[in-house]
C-alpha cells in the first residue's frame, strides 16, 4: 500500500518534468522571435526588450529551462507578464474556488451516477435510459449548458446568482449558492459516464459465481447488490471517478469562464488571451500537481476495495 503510493509519487516526477518542459519546447519551435509573438503586433521595441529580459529569451533554451526549473524547485514560478505579481501567490489565491468546484462536481456526479448505475444494472429498462442519457449527456457542450442554467435559474427564476464566487469564509450558504450551477454544469457529463460504467461493472459483478453462492445461502438481494456486487465493481467505478476528477479539472477552464469564477481555469484562459507565458506555465504545474494528488487518492482507494492490491 505504502509502496504503491511511493511508486505513484516517483511517477509524478517525470510527469511534472514533461509538463513543465512542454511550453519551453513550443517556444523553441516558434518561428521568428518569441518575444514579438508574445508581445503582440503592437508591441514597442522597449516592450519586446522587456519581455526578452523577463523571460531570458536571449539565453539558450536549455539555460532558460534550467533557470526556470531551479527556481520552480524553490517554489518560485516567476511573475506574470501582465500584472507582474508572483505566479505562485496569484495561483494560490485561485486554488480554493477551483478545488471547491471540482470536489463538489465529482461528489455530485459520483453519488447520482453510482445510484443511477446500480439501479440500471438491476432493471433492464432503466439501463436503456442510462445508455441514451449517457450519449446525450456527453454531447451537451458544457459552456452552453452553463448558460442555459444561468438563463433558467438566475435570469428567469432568480433563485441563484448568475455568476461570481463567494469564498467559504464568507459563509457556507453563499458559497454553495454560488457553486450550485457550476457544479451541475460540470457534473452532467461526468454523471452520464459514471452511471454507464457503474451499470456495466455492477452487472458483470452480479454475473460472477459468488453471487449465486450467496443467494443460495439465503443472503438478501439488498446485501448481494450493495455489500458484495458494488464492492466488487468498485475498481472500474473508482477508475472512472478518478478520470472524472481530471475531466472536471479540464472543465474548470470553460465553466469558471462562464460563471466568472476566479479559479485556475479562468486564469489559464486570461493568461492565454494575454500571452502571459509565465502564468500559463504556472497553471500547467498546478494542474499537474492536482492530477498527481488525485491519482494518489485513487490508488489508496484501490487498496481499500481490492485486498490483493493492499498486500502488494
Amino acid at each position: 500500500m505504502f509502496r504503491l503510493v511511493l511508486r505513484r509519487l516517483a511517477w509524478s516526477i517525470p510527469l511534472l518534468f514533461v509538463a513543465s518542459l512542454v511550453s519551453f519546447v513550443f517556444v523553441a519551435f516558434l518561428p521568428g522571435d518569441a518575444a514579438s509573438a508574445l508581445g503582440g503586433a503592437n508591441a514597442t521595441a522597449e516592450q519586446l526588450a522587456a519581455i526578452r529580459q523577463e523571460l531570458g529569451l536571449n539565453r539558450p533554451l536549455w539555460d532558460q529551462y534550467w533557470q526556470w526549473l531551479s527556481s520552480a524547485l524553490h517554489g518560485d514560478l516567476g511573475s506574470s507578464l501582465l500584472s507582474h505579481q508572483s505566479v505562485t501567490s496569484l495561483l494560490n489565491q485561485r486554488l480554493e474556488p477551483s478545488l471547491s468546484l471540482i470536489a463538489g462536481a465529482v461528489l455530485l456526479a459520483g453519488s447520482v451516477g453510482i445510484a443511477l448505475g446500480v439501479r440500471a444494472a438491476l432493471r433492464g429498462r432503466l439501463g436503456k435510459v442510462v445508455d441514451a442519457g449517457s450519449i446525450v449527456g456527453l454531447a451537451v457542450p458544457d459552456f452552453w449548458l452553463g448558460l442555459v442554467l444561468i438563463l433558467v435559474f438566475a435570469v428567469h427564476l432568480s433563485i441563484l446568482p448568475p455568476t461570481g464566487y463567494s469564498p467559504l469564509v464568507d459563509g457556507p450558504g453563499a458559497w454553495m449558492q454560488s457553486l450550485v450551477l457550476p457544479w451541475i454544469t460540470l457534473a452532467v457529463p461526468a454523471t452520464a459516464i459514471i452511471a454507464k460504467q457503474t451499470r456495466d461493472a455492477v452487472a458483470s459483478a452480479l454475473d460472477r459465481p459468488f453471487v449465486r453462492t450467496l443467494r443460495a445461502a439465503g443472503v438478501s438481494e439488498r446485501s448481494i447488490v450493495y455489500r458484495h456486487a458494488l464492492k466488487n465493481a468498485a475498481i472500474p467505478i473508482l477508475t472512472v471517478v478518478g478520470l472524472m476528477f481530471v475531466g472536471a479539472l479540464s472543465g474548470t477552464v470553460v465553466v469558471e469562464s462562464v460563471f466568472a469564477i476566479p479559479g485556475l481555469g479562468s486564469t489559464a484562459v486570461q493568461a492565454t488571451s494575454s500571452n502571459d507565458l509565465p502564468l500559463i506555465q504556472g497553471t500547467v504545474v498546478y494542474f499537474t500537481l492536482i492530477v498527481v494528488v488525485i491519482n494518489i487518492f485513487v490508488d489508496v482507494a484501490y487498496g481499500y476495495f481490492n485486498p490483493k492490491v493492499r498486500l502488494a
Partner: protein, 657 residues
C-alpha cells in the same frame, strides 16, 4: 515469392464481401436507423457548409440594428442577433470552421494514432513498452491546459490548437489499435503471410489495417465529436481567431452577452453543437454495433435457427410416471415433470419433463455429460435460474410444499436453511473483497439471531466441522489467500450454516486436485453421516457416483433417461447412454484396456430429435426409437428407463453383476 501472399490475401476473413453493396446498405440501415440519421445529418451539414454562400439566405455580416434580437419569423427563420444579423445564415457560415477544425484534429489523430498503434501492436517489445510509458504520461495531463499553452505561444492560432488536440487525443487511439492489432497478429493468415516472407510493412498496411478498421472508425467518429465540441469551447472563450467568420462557439459567446434581454439567441448555436456532437457519437455507436455484429452472430439467433417447427407441439408428452407422488416415499424433495425453457415468445425447452425424488438422508447423483440440463435442474430447485430462463411446467415439492407455486418468497424461505448449494468453482464462489469470516458470519446472521461474538463462535465451529485447520486464520483470510480445497471447505461450511435438509452440490470436486477431490467427498460423507442431511450431487464422474451416491439419475439432452440404485446402474445399465458413459469413464474402465470414447455430442436445446434423443449416437438404434415420444418406463422396483428396446437389449455394465 510474390505469388504466395496473394493467395494469403484471398484467404483473409476480413471485411464481409458484400460490404457497401446496395443490399448490405439496406440491411445495415434497417439495423441501425439512428446511425443512418446521423450520417444523413452530417452529409447535409457538409453540403450546407460547402455551399454556404448560396444556402444562406443573408450575408452573415449584414447588420440591421432596427431588426436586432428578433425571435424566429418568416423573414429570419432563426431570428436575428444583437446587431440584427440573420442567425440562420451565421449558423450556416459557421459550419465550415467547425467541421474544418474538427477535421484537422481528426487527420492528426488518425495519421499518428493508426501507424503508431499498429506498429506497437505488431512489433511489441521495447518500442511498445516505451510508447506505453509516453502514453501514460500524456494521458495524465488534462489536454485543454496544454492546448492553452500552445495558443499562448501561437496566439489565436486555431490550426495549432487543433493539431495539438489531435496529438494529445491520439494516445487513446494508439491503445485501441494496438490492442486490436495484437489480436490480429496472432491469427493464422497473418502468421502465414509472415512465414511466406511478406514484409512487415505490407502485412501491417494490407492485412492488419483491414481488420482493425472497425475500432479505428469508432474511435475516429467519437473523436470528431470531441474535437468539434472542443473547438466550439475555445471559440466561445474567444481565444481562437476565426478570420472574422461566425463560429458556433463565438455565437454562443455573443448570446451570453445579451442573456438577460433575449434568451432565444442561445438556442440555435448551442443546439447546432449538441446535435452535431450527438451525430458523431451515434455514428460511432452504429459502427461499433456493426463491426461487433459481423464477428459473431447473436446467440439468440443461433437458438432460433436450430429450432424446427413441430417440436414445440411434441413437447408435452404422455407420461408413464403417475403424477403427484413419485415412486419413492417418503420424500424430502420430489421433482415432478419439471420443464425449464429459455426465451420470450418462441420458447426453447432446456429441461423437459424431469421427475425424480430425494428421500431424507439419501444421496442422489444427477449424471450426464455437460449440456444435458443437470445444472439447470439444480438451479431450478433453488429458484435461481439465469436471466431469460424459467420454469414453465411441473412442480418442485420440498417438505410437501410446492415451491413453483409459492414463487420467489417460497424459494427464498428454503434457500440456505432448507436447500443449500455448493458450486464447482470453489474460489470463484467466494466474494474476493470480503474475508472468509465476514462472508460466513453474514450467512450465519441470515439464519440465526446471534451476537457478534456468537456469530464468530458459530463460524469457527462450522470451519471445525469441515475439518479446516486453524479456523481463526482462515476466518481472517481473503479468498485469494487460501487454496481451492480450503475454499471448497469454506463453501461447504457456508452451505451448512443454515442447517439445511438438502445439499445441492454441482460438480463440487471437478475443479480440484485429485487428492483434494477424495478429501472433499470424504468430508461430504462424514457430514451426511453426522447430520442426516440429504445430498443431490451433480457429476459426470462415475467415480464420484460410486463413492458417495445411493441412487443415480442419468440425464440426457434435457430429460431423465434412466434412474436406479447405484449398484444396479453399474452392473446392469438399462439405457444405452448409461452403458456408453460407463464404458468411456476412466475411473470404471478395465485396467490396461483402451478407453472407448462416446462419439458425437449432446444435441443442443431446440434441435432435439423426435423420439429417443440419444438415437443419433446410439449403437442400437432402430426405426421404433425415432417413431415417437418414449415415456420413462418402470423396469422393476425403483428403476426407470426411457429405452424402448429395454427388453431386447443386454447392456454391458462396468462391473460384473
Amino acid at each position: 515469392m510474390s505469388v504466395v501472399p496473394t493467395q494469403v490475401v484471398t484467404a483473409s476473413p476480413a471485411v464481409p464481401p458484400r460490404a457497401l453493396s446496395p443490399r448490405w446498405i439496406r440491411r445495415t440501415a434497417a439495423k441501425q436507423p439512428l446511425g443512418v440519421v446521423a450520417v444523413g445529418y452530417l452529409l447535409v451539414l457538409a453540403v450546407l457548409g460547402l455551399f454556404a454562400s448560396s444556402a444562406a439566405p443573408y450575408d452573415p455580416a449584414r447588420q440591421d440594428l432596427a431588426a436586432a434580437l428578433q425571435g424566429p419569423s418568416s423573414g429570419h427563420w432563426l431570428g436575428t442577433d444583437a446587431l440584427g444579423r440573420d442567425i440562420l445564415s451565421r449558423l450556416i457560415y459557421g459550419i465550415t470552421p467547425s467541421l474544418a477544425n474538427a477535421f484537422i484534429a481528426l487527420v492528426v489523430f488518425v495519421g499518428i494514432g493508426v501507424p503508431l498503434g499498429i506498429a506497437a501492436g505488431y512489433r511489441g517489445g521495447l518500442f511498445d513498452g516505451v510508447l506505453g510509458r509516453i502514453i501514460e504520461l500524456i494521458q495524465s495531463l488534462p489536454p485543454i491546459i496544454l492546448v492553452l499553452v500552445v495558443v499562448t505561444v501561437f496566439p489565436a492560432n486555431a490550426t495549432a490548437a487543433m493539431i495539438t488536440l489531435g496529438v494529445l487525443g491520439c494516445v487513446g487511439l494508439i491503445r485501441v489499435v494496438r490492442g486490436a492489432t495484437f489480436i490480429v497478429r496472432e491469427e493464422l493468415y497473418v502468421t502465414a503471410a509472415r512465414v511466406s516472407g511478406v514484409t512487415p510493412g505490407r502485412i501491417m498496411s494490407s492485412h492488419v489495417l483491414r481488420r482493425v478498421l472497425g475500432p479505428i472508425l469508432v474511435q475516429a467518429s467519437v473523436f470528431a465529436g470531441i474535437a468539434l465540441a472542443f473547438q466550439a469551447a475555445l471559440a466561445f472563450l474567444g481565444i481562437l481567431s476565426s478570420g472574422g467568420r461566425p463560429t458556433w462557439g463565438g455565437m454562443t459567446g455573443e448570446a451570453a452577452q445579451v442573456i438577460s434581454s433575449s434568451s432565444w439567441q442561445l438556442i440555435p448555436p448551442g443546439m447546432a453543437v449538441l446535435v452535431t456532437v450527438l451525430a458523431f457519437g451515434l455514428l460511432g455507436d452504429a459502427i461499433r454495433d456493426l463491426s461487433s455484429g459481423e464477428d459473431e452472430p447473436a446467440p439468440s439467433s443461433r437458438v432460433k435457427r436450430a429450432r424446427t417447427p413441430g417440436e414445440a407441439t411434441a413437447m408435452p408428452s404422455e407420461r408413464a410416471v403417475p403424477s403427484g407422488a413419485g415412486p419413492f416415499d417418503p420424500e424430502l424433495l420430489a421433482v415432478d415433470r419439471l420443464t425449464v425453457v429459455a426465451g420470450e415468445g418462441t420458447e426453447v425447452p432446456l429441461v423437459s419433463d424431469v421427475s425424480f425424488a430425494v428421500a431424507p438422508g439419501e444421496t442422489v447423483a444427477l449424471v450426464g455429460e455437460s449440456g444435458c440440463g443437470k445444472s439447470l435442474t439444480a438451479l431450478a430447485l433453488l429458484g435461481m435460474l439465469p436471466g431469460g430462463v424459467r420454469t414453465n411446467a411441473g412442480r418442485i415439492m420440498f417438505n410437501g410444499e410446492d415451491l413453483t407455486a409459492g414463487g420467489e418468497p417460497a424459494y427464498r424461505a428454503v434457500r440456505g436453511s432448507g436447500i443449500a448449494y455448493v458450486a464447482q468453482d470453489a474460489l470463484g464462489s467466494l466474494d474476493p473483497t470480503h474475508t472468509v469470516g465476514s462472508q460466513l458470519q453474514e450467512v450465519i446472521g441470515r439464519h440465526e439471531q446471534l451476537s457478534r461474538a456468537g456469530k464468530r463462535a458459530r463460524a469457527a465451529e462450522l470451519l471445525a466441522q469441515v475439518k479446516l485447520q486453524d479456523p481463526d486464520r482462515v476466518l481472517a483470510s481473503y479468498p485469494h489467500e487460501i487454496s481451492g480445497g480450503m475454499a471448497q471447505r469454506v463453501n461447504i461450511a457456508m452451505a451448512l450454516a443454515g442447517r439445511p435438509q438438502l445439499l445441492v452440490a454441482d460438480e463440487p470436486t471437478t475443479a480440484l486436485d485429485v487428492t483434494v477431490q477424495a478429501e472433499i467427498l470424504q468430508l461430504l460423507r462424514e457430514i451426511k453421516h453426522a447430520t442426516g442431511m440429504s445430498i443431490l450431487i451433480i457429476t459426470h464422474d462415475w467415480g464420484v457416483v460410486a463413492d458417495i451416491a445411493d441412487r443415480g439419475v442419468v440425464m440426457y439432452a434435457g430429460e431423465v433417461v434412466e434412474q436406479a440404485a447405484v449398484d444396479r446402474l453399474f452392473t446392469e445399465p438399462r439405457f444405452p447412454y448409461t452403458a456408453a458413459l460407463l464404458a468411456s469413464d476412466a475411473s470404471t474402465a478395465a485396467e490396461g484396456a483402451r478407453l472407448p470414447t462416446l462419439p458425437g455430442r449432446v444435441p443442443a436445446p431446440g434441435s432435439w430429435p423426435n423420439g429417443c434423443r440419444f438415437s443419433g449416437r446410439c449403437a442400437f438404434v432402430k426405426d421404433v426409437c425415432v417413431a415417437g415420444q418414449i415415456p420413462l418406463m418402470p423396469v422393476e422396483a425403483q428403476s426407470l428407463t426411457r429405452c424402448i428396446r429395454v427388453d431386447e437389449l443386454v447392456l454391458q455394465g462396468a462391473l460384473p453383476s
